[in-house]
Amino acid sequence: MKTRAQQDMELAAKLVQEVADLDKETYKETQQIYGSLCHSFPVMVRTCGLCQAIAFSQAKAGEGKDAREKAHELLLKHVRKVLGVQGDLLQVLREASASDYMLYTRRVLSAWVYFKRFAESILKVSSGQQGSK
């Protein structure tokens, strides 16, 4: 049996490493933007709320070749993994009870401590290094 912190750390290390393992030639900018999002995303959750933060990323995400779209896509994928959600994240959040919504928010915030740290140690992106528009 592992603590929640252990599980969060293990998952974050694995997912951030996957981003770092992407081909440097093609995804260098994506890695930088993703690293920056790891720093700014939890602050956005704190200041605006989980729904707003997810909606913001969803609006920016895309499967195309644009580095920023790809970074947001990765972020959303990782939020889904942390919350154990499959399918449309916004729909799940929309339909969640208030209790579940509060739990989701706190789960994301506690897990993102590790994403933030691994963005620095694995991706070498520190806070404010790259804009997160």
Partner: protein, 283 residues
């Protein structure tokens, strides 16, 4: 009722950053929080030093040394003061509200602990009973509350069911009578008791988080890595605690209390950017 204890209430006029220094957290510089509950606190050590400084002047060194202790670095021997301060715990948290602009939110656990502690200290609590009914997504408001419309209350992201409650009104009146004597309605009409669960959530998500930067002097652009996030308890927060006179002070304490009359203090960090101005009410 003990004449050796007084309650201290703090009303934050500007956001308060009473921090813990650098932390491994989502926010780089978080505020101090109580370990068991995660609710904001202002440690007694922060409060004591600030009060000492605020009350010190050229004429009262003797009283200050007696009340707050003698500096061990001085030539004379160090000596503990007779005032014993407790941590300041959150009493009401200002929370964005769809109706009424903002709410002074609290919860049953906060109120129960306040009553219990004041009784333990020998201070007459401002109110006796904490009403039942603030559970789950239900909240209790005062009569004629500006926060609720049609039985609904909207705090931050949360939709709550609101019910007017007489005991809640009594608590609001009692707190307003101590803390908002000039305009009690500004408090009572915004007072709400939410469930402990909702209050927990608000204590995490309703804090202010500000981005701070340092600019390069030559280019006026952000220095690499010089962006950090700071947390603060929002303006309008209310805290409560107590100050006790230690057992080793054998004399009548009236003279001490007469001199202990702080009004406005600056608590925590970032004073030069306006943080931490608090009104002090001793009761």
């Amino acid at each position: 009722m003990s004449d050796r204890v007084k309650a201290i209430y703090l009303h934050a006029l500007t956001p308060v950053h009473s921090g813990t220094g650098q932390a491994v957290a989502v926010v780089d510089l978080p505020i101090a929080r109580e370990k068991a509950t995660g609710w904001p606190i202002i440690p007694a050590s922060s409060l004591k030093g600030v009060l000492r400084d605020a009350l010190s002047n050229d004429n009262n060194k003797g009283w200050i040394d007696l009340a707050f202790g003698k500096d061990v670095r001085s030539e004379e021997q160090g000596e503990a003061g007779v005032f014993c301060f407790t941590d300041q715990r959150i009493l009401c948290l200002p929370v964005r509200s769809y109706f009424g602009t903002f709410a002074y939110a609290t919860c049953p656990l906060v109120l129960q602990r306040l009553v219990r502690d004041m009784r333990a200290f020998g201070v007459q609590p401002l109110f006796d009973a904490v009403p039942a009914g603030a559970e789950g997504m239900n909240a209790l408001v005062t009569k004629g509350s500006t926060l609720a419309k049609g039985g609904k209350l909207y705090l931050e992201d949360l939709d709550l069911s609101a019910k007017e409650d007489e005991q809640t009104q009594k608590i609001a009146n009692a707190l307003a009578g101590k803390l908002f004597t000039e305009n009690p309605r500004s408090f009572t009409e915004r007072f709400v008791i939410v469930s402990d669960e909702v209050f927990n959530f608000l204590c995490e998500t309703a804090m202010e988080v500000a981005a701070r930067i340092r600019l390069k002097d030559e280019t006026k652009t952000v220095e690499t890595g010089a962006l950090w996030y700071e947390e603060a308890v929002p303006a309008e927060s209310l805290f409560s605690g107590a100050v006790l006179i230690a057992d080793h002070y054998r004399r009548e304490p009236t003279d001490l209390w007469n001199k202990f009359q702080p009004s406005l203090i600056q608590l925590g960090g970032n004073s030069t950017v306006g943080r931490g101005l608090c009104r002090v009410v001793i009761a």
